[in-house]
Amino acid sequence: MSVVSVSKGPRQPNPLLAFLVSSIGKKWIVGISGGLLIFFVLAHLAGNLTIYIGPFGEGINAYAQALHANPVLLWIARGGLLLVFAVHIGTTMSLIIANRRARPQRYAVKARVQSTLAVRTMALSGLVVLSFLIFHVLQFAGGLSPHADLYDLQGRHDVAAMIILSFHNPLVSGFYLVSLVLLGMHLSHGISSVFQTFGLSGRKSFGLIKQGGLLLAWALIIGFASIPVASVTGFLKILPADRRVAPELSASSQL
């Protein structure tokens, strides 16, 4: 009995791994993580806008309390968000390094035919927004704000007062608005790019998706920017100090 050996040919790379390390696979990773971050921005805006509910922004206090009701879920969500950010930034960096290598010599004359400022500054706007995010998280979620220990009539943490008083500082509201403009630029290119990367933009919808992404990005930014503007102009009011419950009392009444 003879054994016939059949050559299997060269070993095929793992198909999933081959996709993930390919140029287009990495674009998909950036697109998926970017798309998730767009949903986060949308949800964050919806949460922020609850500050307009109630005469002293009680809506956002209730929203914050509900958000903190289940610490386990909250930390899972925060961990997931951090992971998405890390994947988005890490993959983008690997793409940027490859792109630099693919174009070792620049032109003596720099000309651009149609690309917008937003697309040419994606990395820069992303990094400024990232630095803002670190400050933003430390300030509001990390409790570094000097207005973090106020409580409302129901004994809830007075998030509305913390936000409004913080925005009365021109440095805080100024940095916030500048970062928002950069986030707007980042999203104005990012939203339509997600569609392009997923292959959802066709020849007819191409222009529509580009304009739609631009419109949605700036609509989001106007929504976010309305809060510092409303705080500084006095449209958003805080609970007067004489009606406020003492922090120790409210803390004990919460127990």
């Binding site: 081959a18 140029s23 693919a102 032109y107 003596a108 004359v109 697309v119």
Partner: protein, 252 residues
Amino acid sequence: MNFDLKIWRQAEGKTKGNFQTVDARDIPSEASFLEMLDIVNDRMSESGEVPVAFDHDCREGICGSCSLTINGIPQGPGRGTACQLYMRKFRDGDTIYIEPFRVGAFPVVKDLVVNRSAFDRVIAAGGFISERCGNAQDANDTPIPKTVVDYAMDAAACIGCGACAAACPNGSAMLFVSAKIGHLGLLPQGKPEANRRVRGMVAKMDAEGFGNCSNFYECAAVCPAGVPAAFIAKMNRDYALASVRNAVEATA
């Protein structure tokens, strides 16, 4: 017309290049850009200088041999190839920078000539289509909707000149590769191998060292054939779907 030319001179790929200033006098306004270079080269030869090397062939805007970057724009300002650019488009006394296509995967051979064989290797990686031999079949044997034919033709218009990769700040060849994948993948003749083709060509494109698209769309703006960037979206989708199919088949 008179022009102040700054022409990239590089004796060979490995040597360091630099700009040579050339005073181009009495150039007829009806001369094409390449004819202007011919006149300059004739004068250089007469005075014993080494003429400027540049790629050209049909000079009708259809072969894709031109590879000049004029004032930072591959194939020059306006739609069309460099050979279809006429000196009347410039103003008398203009300074014109002439550089080769700058893409890592297109090494400079000499002066303004670059080696674009990376594109040929990407095409080869796509493989053949399955077609029967023998007599040509009846023209109406394979019905294809007019809209599909037109769309495939938009991609097939690509002349493979490489201006897309040269215009891309990331040195990405995705408009070229997506045009080739698009035009074959849309037609019934190229459908059977569509999955294999998109995976093969994308893998080769990456291996050749081209960059990644980040949606600047400079490529489509300079493309002399007007290939739309929507084909890149189609390639992104086709590649992902082909990879999924390949993964499923590998486990089955």
